[in-house]
């Protein structure tokens, strides 16, 4: 998917194995003028994060082959500076707790408020992780 515009040169990576959700995330972030890179397969994203600087990653924690939690854990190891924004369609509180323990930048339940989500992404793009 091509980048529709550039915001301060930094891009948002979106990881979701649900293609229609992934596309809608792309349109949503692009409509806010953000530069977006999408990944349908978490393995591809982890490979990308290993070789590129990733400022912000939006990760769905329910995915088929590798669970979202595993992606989060591996991302922490590969790219500790990446701000992770977790989205989930699940109401499973135990999983939420685990995800939150990893220390995400923000946590959203699907479907989420678009304004709050976009502003969280913007803040994450501006802030550098210590």
């Amino acid at each position: 998917m091509s980048d529709p515009g550039e915001v301060k040169g930094k891009e948002v990576c979106v990881v979701d194995d649900d293609l229609s959700v992934l596309k809608s995330m792309y349109y949503l972030l692009a409509s806010a003028g953000l530069k977006v890179r999408t990944f349908n397969r978490p393995e591809d994203f982890l490979a990308h994060a290993g070789t590129h600087h990733v400022q912000v990653a939006v990760v769905d924690i329910w995915m088929d082959r590798i669970t979202g939690l595993e992606v989060l854990a591996r991302l922490c190891a590969i790219s500790p500076k990446t701000h992770v924004i977790v989205v989930t369609a699940s109401e499973d509180l135990a999983a939420h707790a685990t995800a939150k323990a990893i220390g995400p930048f923000a946590f959203f339940m699907k479907p989420f408020d678009d304004e709050k989500f976009i502003s969280a992404v913007r803040v994450a793009l501006k802030q550098n992780r210590k």
Partner: protein, 660 residues
Amino acid sequence: MGDAVVVADKEENFLVFNPAAERMFGAGPTEAKSREWSRRYGLYLPDKVTPFPRDQLPLTRSIRGEEVNDIEMFVRRESTPKGIWTRVNGRPLRGPTGELLGGVIVCRDISQAREEEFFRAGQSRVLEMIAADAPLADVLSNLVLLMESQAEGLRCSILLLNRDGKHVRHCTAPGLPEVFQRAMEGSEIGPRKGSCGTAMYTRRPVVVTDVMTNSLWADYRELARVCELSACWSTPILSAQGDVLGSFAMYRQEKRDPRPEETRLAQIATHIAGIAIERQRQQEILRERDARISLAAESANLAFWIMYPGQNTAWMSEKGRLLYSFDPRLPLTCDLILSRVHPDERTAVKAAYDRACALSGTFESEHRLLLPFGKTRWVIMRGRCLKDEKGHLLETIGVTLDVSAQRQADLRLQHQREEMAHRNRVSLMGEMTASFAHELTQPLTALANNASAARRFFEHGSIDVALLQQLLEEMVADSQRAGNVIHGIRSLVRKERSVRTPLNLNAVITDTVRLVRPDVLSRESVVTTELDSQLPQVCAALVEIRQVLLNLIINALDAMEKLPPRERHVIISTRSDQGDVAEVSVRDFGTGLPNDQPDKIFDHFFSTKQKGMGMGLTIVRSIVEAHGGTIVAENAPERGARIVVRLPAIREETHATMVA
């Protein structure tokens, strides 16, 4: 006896009257002229009563100059009360110049030949009666009368032995007083029971010359006196197998032994009576068997029928006509019987019947009958084709069983099963809230995102038609997907009867595993699949198969609740068994099943779980069995349980069942 020769002149004066003629006509020559001959010499026409007309007398005719050939004449006089049959030939007597002088007749006594002929005709009549199934009593009394006609002063009787072999059932003695018959019927046979009782008891002929002195008759002397009997000779009547059927007896008023011709008569009578009695017994046995079969058939609600497809005619038992609502007198045809089959099933039933006829095999079909006034009945029809020795179809013979009551009970049971299955599906929904929420949230999130994006693009004025169109298409697709999820949920909850279609179980498994993933993940478990790509298709209802899989998956997850999360693993595998069966097994790594009765988990109230759905596995079994499949539970190697479902694969040649 030599031939009688009589010669008379033109004036009817006897010239020759030989001794044989004197014996035959009971008198010698007289002065009497031809007008008195018939009366004087006892001459009758063959009807034995009409005096022979004067102008037709053979001697009269030969005196007239006629040649007379083979005229039969009956002669009876006081000295010959039985009468004599004679065959007469006559010739005219002529002088040297051919002038008529008188006539000569030669008479041959043919009485014996005529009597034998009559006797044979009499036997034939009795045999014909037997063949025509005349009542046995009539046959026997005709036989007795025929025998009595063969000798002057002869009286006969036939006794029938009861099937108990001990008592006299029936007595035929038309020439004896009724008191004799009454005394005989019901009497017991034995070693000293008159001539007949003893003959039947010993199975040998018994000759009693004088009943008044013979010890065998000690009990019957008074009867003999009343009936004026002196001698009694009895012969047992035996069946072809040697069983005693009865006895034939001859009585005389004079004390003597039987003459050879009387012994011969007894042999003939015994033989014919044996045939008559045995035939009647066989028919009795057949009738009894028929009665037993129809009794059995009637109490089993069975209707018998025979169809002759070649002639399009048919026969049906009384019960059958009742079941099919046919008038008892209505002539039946194969078409008529078939026309009672419900129109929805008629083609299929006819095809099954025709196929059985063509192959000369058997057929069975369960179908409805549509009777007058719209009444319907459920029946099972079973038949078999019979061929003649050349292999041509003769008839189909079979039974129809009314299973309406059973069918109604089945329907009630099916209804209850469906009700239970429905409750199970509703409770499954409760078990899968995470999955359904997730399923629905995904398209709704996408929809919201796409709508928000479109709004933003508008606000910035940075949207082109192509982008707008794409967003709208995405939104349409998202809402359709959400609709499909709701449709899927509804199909699980709906009470509608499910339709069976060819299914690829691998696809259903993949789909179901994907659906339940959120719940699996929320239980910190893993479900993996090992699918056989050669798995044959099955004919099944999608919703029910999905219900089976969901129950088995949830059951497996429940069984592993107490395990550490990384050990909670469910493996669903498929396997084709020689292409006949599609096998699905769901294996967990939980505590396994009680070793003594692993299959007990399919029973209603058996549950090893605290929480759980109770009925789940019972319903799984009923669904699997309704699909013609089997289900077993067993302990897996190492640990855990394995539930194996086997469903029949769709065959190339599908068997035509007519169960709706």
